[in-house]
């Protein structure tokens, strides 16, 4: 957690986003997450069932990895930034007991039509083997020196293409 106040002008292409983790997700952590989102699918919680369906073990929920990426970005941009877009591909399975790290770097910076700062990032989750199991991208909106107020709501014209 950081109470960072990140401004667009503070960010450069190539900057590394402070990583989140490693966090180990054991079966209890996975069940707690699934329970919080009330997803009671056996794929993430019933190990015998998962194996009966051909998996090596239960799978760490995709949203667990997405939430780590989300938390990494939120910690980095602080309370005044706005997390605009987050995408992540669930490329490979992670299983109970794996330790995951969220990492990312800045690939593009531009001022949007609303005068706010847009930062595009490459992000990913890697596990304890160094395998990237969930690569993705994100866009955050930051205050600029000229436009320090990032709104709470955005309009649809910013919709993804």
């Amino acid at each position: 957690m950081s109470k960072s106040k990140l401004f667009y002008e503070d960010v450069n292409i190539g900057d590394q986003i402070p990583q989140l983790g490693p966090l180990t997700w054991n079966t209890t952590d996975i069940v707690r997450f699934s329970s919080a989102v009330e997803n009671y699918e056996p794929l993430h919680q019933a190990r015998d069932w998962a194996r009966s369906k051909g998996h090596k073990d239960t799978l760490i929920n995709g949203p667990i990895r997405t939430s780590m990426l989300h938390n990494m970005l939120i910690n980095w941009i602080g309370d005044d930034g706005f997390l605009k877009k987050l995408s992540c591909q669930q490329r490979a399975a992670d299983h109970p007991g794996y330790a995951l790290i969220a990492k990312g770097s800045v690939v593009n910076c531009y001022i949007g039509p609303n005068g706010l700062g847009y930062i595009e990032c490459d992000i990913h989750i890697e596990n304890q083997e160094g395998t990237i199991t969930a690569p993705g991208k994100a866009t955050v909106v930051l205050p600029t020196n000229e436009n320090p107020n990032v709104p709470e709501y955005f309009d649809l014209p910013n919709a993804k293409s």
Binding site: M1, L43, G62, P63, D80, Q90, N149
Partner: protein, 176 residues
């Protein structure tokens, strides 16, 4: 293993593109115990999401939900006891792919438009936007893309999620 690239996308399967799910709605407005569980489960210690004193000092003025909070199941409302199968079918049961029953979440893209606060009720409508066949290293797979539109009780757009589900060949037409 050399295999012909057989087309598994039957007309019955493809007919499901454009299919809309029922609109679902949160069973109750966002309350503190739901928010707490989520924050504890995601191991998030940002006080903006649970500490009213701290949140008052920010531009929000009160606790808000972490943006990712909305990305959760829409469970049955109070008084309805549904088993897991039914809840699952509501969310992903829009598309039936006989012979391809082993499903994994293949990724999602979220775009946010607004914040969520305690007392908000979100609703969600899902549309099947695409069904395609992909060739994986272990055989053919079917990739299903869903668009999920999330709004709050004032009809304010909160988020749009594009979700992909990958199905591999496995016996059975049901996901369970």
């Amino acid at each position: 293993m050399v295999e012909q690239e057989q087309n598994y996308l039957t007309p019955e399967i493809l007919r499901q593109i454009g299919k809309e799910g029922e609109e679902t709605i949160w069973p109750e407005p966002l309350d503190r115990s739901s928010l707490r569980r989520f924050i504890q489960a995601t191991r998030d210690d940002n006080p903006l999401y649970y500490d009213e004193e701290y949140a008052k000092s920010t531009k929000y003025g009160s606790v808000i939900a972490p943006p990712f909070y909305f990305h959760r199941s829409f469970p049955s409302p109070l008084g309805v006891v549904e088993d897991a199968e039914k809840e699952e079918m509501r969310h992903r049961g829009l598309v039936d792919t006989p012979g391809f029953a082993k499903q994994v979440n293949a990724g999602s893209e979220i775009e946010w438009f607004g914040q969520v606060r305690i007392g908000d009720t979100l609703n969600s409508k899902t549309v099947v936007s695409n069904i395609e066949q992909k060739q994986g290293k272990n055989g053919p797979m079917i990739l299903i893309t869903y668009d999920r539109i999330i709004k709050n009780q004032d009809d304010k757009l909160i988020a749009i999620t594009t979700q992909k589900s990958l199905r591999r060949q496995s016996e059975g037409t049901s996901l369970f």
